[in-house]
Amino acid sequence: METMLERKPGAPQPAKTAEASLWYGAWRALKKNKLAVIGACIILVFILCALLAPLLKPEGFDAENLSARLKPPSGAHWFGTDDFGRDIFTRILYGARISLWVGFSSVTGAIIVGTVLGILAGFYGRWIDMIISRLFDIMLAFPSILLAIAIVAVLGPSLQNALIAIATVNIPNFGRLVRSKVLSIKEEEYILAARAIGMKDSRILLRHILPNSLAPIIVQGTLSIATAILDAAALGFLGLGAQPPHPEWGRMLSDSRQYITDAPWTVIFPGLAIALTVLGFNLLGDGVRDALDPKMKK
């Protein structure tokens, strides 16, 4: 097919060109992956919950009704009520806003900082690489949740500080990933070819190295959102994240744990919400990885 093109001018092109980019191929592969679609649907449902919460439950997450404390699930309260008589379903809807926000923004922050550091380390090497890599090594020497707790302990417990802590502990993961990717792309012949046409280092970085390292960043990013949400819940459970009365799922778990035998719905539903979102992001993340890098498929 291709050799024909060499010889016969005007022979038909092998494929429609606009459909051939890496991203288009990945998108098609992703759509075929059932588990990834399920994951995406779960995430979509939670995103809708987060967006529509004020419309669905205009009374807000903090409407107490002390006469209806610890009621089991019913038509009025789908997921039951907690010890202040607050509707758990409502709180979970609003909680989705917190968890998704923490997940997305902390990972975005980690990606930006990690990518910049990783590119600097990988492209310029020498002492810059030495300093940055050792910094990553030190950060990775701590269990991530312990490091996050330490950061929050220093900054003071609040949702925003929990977010900063989670972003910080994720930086070395992205930094190392980008660094190793840059190191291998740097040696590619098209980088030499780009230099041979007189291209500047900064342009080579932005136009050639960065786009080529995007795929693993996206994969790692999707999977990291899951752990970020989990970390946020853990910090919330320990009282280091969102402060009451904010309906953070981890916080809801810890606040209700004394009622676990009498009113199990108070812990089951927040726990289920955490598990489902994490599952959704993990399924989607695995799907994205398979779609972007078919070689990694088991």
């Binding site: 060499e6 005007g10 051939a20 012949e189 098209y190 041979a196 007189g198």
Partner: protein, 369 residues
Amino acid sequence: MRFGKNIFYYRSYNVAIYVGLAAKGGGLLSEPILAVKGLKTTFYTDDGQVPAVDGVDFSVRAGEILGIVGESGCGKSVTSLSIMRLVSAPGKIVDGRIVFNGEDITHASEKRMRQIRGDEMAMIFQEPMTSLNPVLTIGQQLVEAIRIHRKTSKREAEAQAAEWLKLVGLPRPKDLLKSYPHQLSGGMRQRVMIAMAMVCGPKVLIADEPTTALDVTIQKQILNLMKKLNRETGTAIILITHDLGVVAEMCDRVIVMYAGKVVEEGPVKAIFKNPAHPYTKGLLASVPDLRNRKKRLYSIPGNVPKPGEITNGCPFHPRCEWAMDRCRGSLPEWAALGAGHRARCFLHDMKDGIAPGKGESHGGTAVNR
């Protein structure tokens, strides 16, 4: 017309080359466009210094095709990268001069080099499969190559890119601009690489084994294309190869490299008819001869030494069947053999030249294309 300007540009080169040819025909010695003098490029590795290029001299005249031949690892590629000043750490140009178009670029600033690279001096590589960025379209990469050096609008650059794709013999240039490298065959990609190197009308094009990775039917097409572009645009070509057939077909002059040094230099006819250095003789003898199938294929005994391995005398002496005591002692000076043909070999110091019987047994006759 949209392409009018570009075509004019292209035509003007034709005129230039006719003038150039006239000068050549008239016996005038045209000034070299590129002169390399005593170039030394050393790699500082953990295992010590490796002098990959060790005192290389040569020059390229405007519009000529110069071949650089030698076995793998003799410093051909490092020479070309040194000329472009693209040798990166741990490699370093430690000595010598590179004079391009009258300007000494040996220590030119990186900024000046970026102006020269791609504009006045361009390069194509061995592996067309990996020398295009997989995530950008052909069009994006060509337009980029133009717009680094020329202040043209994106649209104008695209038109020029399409024009160049046509010039390198690719069909449907407009569609091709939108395709990604993986949709093209090796031969097509190499054509794209050539187009990319030629868009700014360089004075010198360095082609580092441009056909080695291609299959034979495509090789011929690519070589013809390069020759055509050389004739029509007047771009001098430095053709680095280990394929003597390619050299015989393409080049005006040849330099033969061995272990980081130039061992013989001369017009292509002289080299093929009267190879003067034992290494060149060996190279020529090891090309299979279709008309003489009975003989076993000749090969030069031994292996290419690592650069810097042989420190005394002529680098070829351990593999040379004519090696004498003085070959081990000191590096031979250039022996002039007339008409720009010269070789670094002590055999030409002796009155009777190369030992006659032995020399004829496997020299010269092998390649005759």
